[in-house]
Amino acid sequence: MAYKILQKQELIPGQTSLLVIDAPQIASKAKPGNFVILRIDEKGERVPLTIADKDPEAGTITIVFLVVGKSSAQLNALQQGDEILDVCGPLGKPTHIEKHDTVICVGGGTGIAAMHHIAKGHHEAGNHVVAIIGARSKDLLLFECELDGFCPEVLVATDDGSVGHKGFVTDLLQKRLEEDKSVGEVVAIGPVPMMEAVARVTKPFGVKTTVSLNSIMVDGIGMCGACRCTVGGETKFACVDGPEFDGQKVDFNELKARLWQFRDQEQESMEHYKKECTCGKH
């Protein structure tokens, strides 16, 4: 059974897209923090992607992805009405949602989409959710309106200052933590350096800090250990023990090194794909 794409939206043309996929069983089970593993076609690799939203009544899940390599480029070539061969999930432990006065959800780049589902979960649990989102520039900012829908505050940072604060999300976070003592938890999802920086900022405040690790995965069901990471000196599997962990305990350097493992082959794959694409056009 293939999974139909009901809606496609290019959020940032050629770079980031959103797909609404018909997957009723997954939609009925998905919770904030969960992810899926999809395979585009018979020859495709298994790609893990966070569930950005779900609609159990409509039987759909939403994913948002960044075009980085062959698989994501291929995914981005699909249109509404096309099918994805495999979608497996929901995987991973759902976000542990506690009652706090205030929760700050920090999202960077495509991570904002994943953060959106978690922020929604915190909002539904009755927490006052402050969203801090960042991107390089105004055009690369995602989900601002969606977050506005339920977050009383959405703070924006851009590297070039084209909108909001000129600088990093961590500047806004630092300021907020200094001024606001009601913050019970900080959740951060985005590029590894951003999550690492968030953990560094929150440390002196002693506030609980949750990060969602985007490790390389193969099966996503605890079978291979590709996604292993060191948390508090122990080896954990991001797919079954996570993907969310205590940001103060994660070995970010190891995570970064492991994320680069297949760089050469990813490039080879992309070049191969580009060549195929051009051939098709002639």
Binding site: R39, E45, P90, C224, G225, E254, F262
Partner: protein, 457 residues
Amino acid sequence: MPEQPADVRAGNFREVALGYSMEQALLEAGRCLQCKVPLCQKGCPVEIDIKGFIAKICEKDLDGAYAVIRETNSLPAVCGRVCPQETQCEGNCILGKKFEPVAIGRLERFVADTFMAKNACETVTGKQECSMERDDRKVACIGAGPSSLTVAGYLASKGIKVTVFEALHEPGGVLIYGIPEFRLPKSIVANEVAAMQELGVDIKVNWVGGKTVTIQDLQQEGFDAIFIGVGAGLPRFLNVPGENLVGVFSANEYLTRVNLGRAYDFPGYDTPTYMGKNVVVLGGGNVAMDAARTAKRMGADSVSIVYRRTQDAMPARLEELHHAIEEGVAIKALCGPIAFNGDDKGNLVSMDVQKMCLGEPDESGRRSPVCLEGETETIPCDMAVIAVGTRPNPILLEATPDLELNKWGYIEADPETGETSMPNVFAGGDIVTGAATVISAMGAGRRAAMEIARRLL
């Protein structure tokens, strides 16, 4: 049995053993003494009527031989290839006391391969089309590995409606992601699965037991019995420094990338894998042999298996060990891993091992390895594969708190029936016993299936 020459096969993923011709099979089957009390059958975990199927081969009735095997074994083409026959059926063969035992595994493989293209339904049930006799009764199997497929095959042949839920995108479990193409071609597994589908078994892929569907959901949906055969997939690591360096893999990851993801055909297929030049494999079982032989085929210059006991004590099948050595895999016995060493970018560059020797026999009578004080060695390597076993996968267990587990975290199941602490919920295979063989998982599946059939029919 004819094989591809070692120097040729070490460069391809095609099957090593080539299989019998009809003449060879007849010659081998003719050696069977047709014992009054067949010890071979007792040695088989699923108790195949071995002398019965061999007698049919002698009559050149291969359909008949297949039907005899299928009475107790749902995956004969698989078993004929990967069972440790030397310790089971063939190990008990009376001829083996003085001569070579009858090559039961190879005969089983021959029968299954010859049969494969035919109508499974007719051979197993004697009917052209398999109508579900009891479609008011339905059974769910979680996982599509050897134990679940055995349950499904057995119950379907009795006319019970079976749905199998598989987490990965391809059914077969360890037969697909674990055992390499050169030992068990994926087409063989696919054929066995297709034969099962012909019997009416519904196989749903991408359904994760405990996530996409839970035991509670299946009970609510009215499944009369549920069989859990989810395996013990979570890989063990060594707990030595440097284990998470880039270039250190679990055997599961390495084999899954190459087998399930077809990384040997990269970039034709998209799943990449690491291409080590100097590869070290840790462990001495069949999985270690599979990983080492795979690395060789993926183009490694050197592959060594590091094992802390002696070569004789390796748990791998002798045939696999010999195949590995023939293909140029080096064995470094009596070496225990101490550490993996990396460069400043976090890439593996070497590993340290502790030289061992065999000490005095312990209470079990087995001589344990002891460290040779101060004798260590550094082995340069850019890739290491850890094949030292697995632990129970937590996903289904965490989602099913009512399921009683034993002290090692595996499911507690009645050894006779496979029933768990939850009524009409059965379990078998590695999730009950810990990592074992394909055939022992199938044996557990068969016992559970017989009990389920007894209750439902």
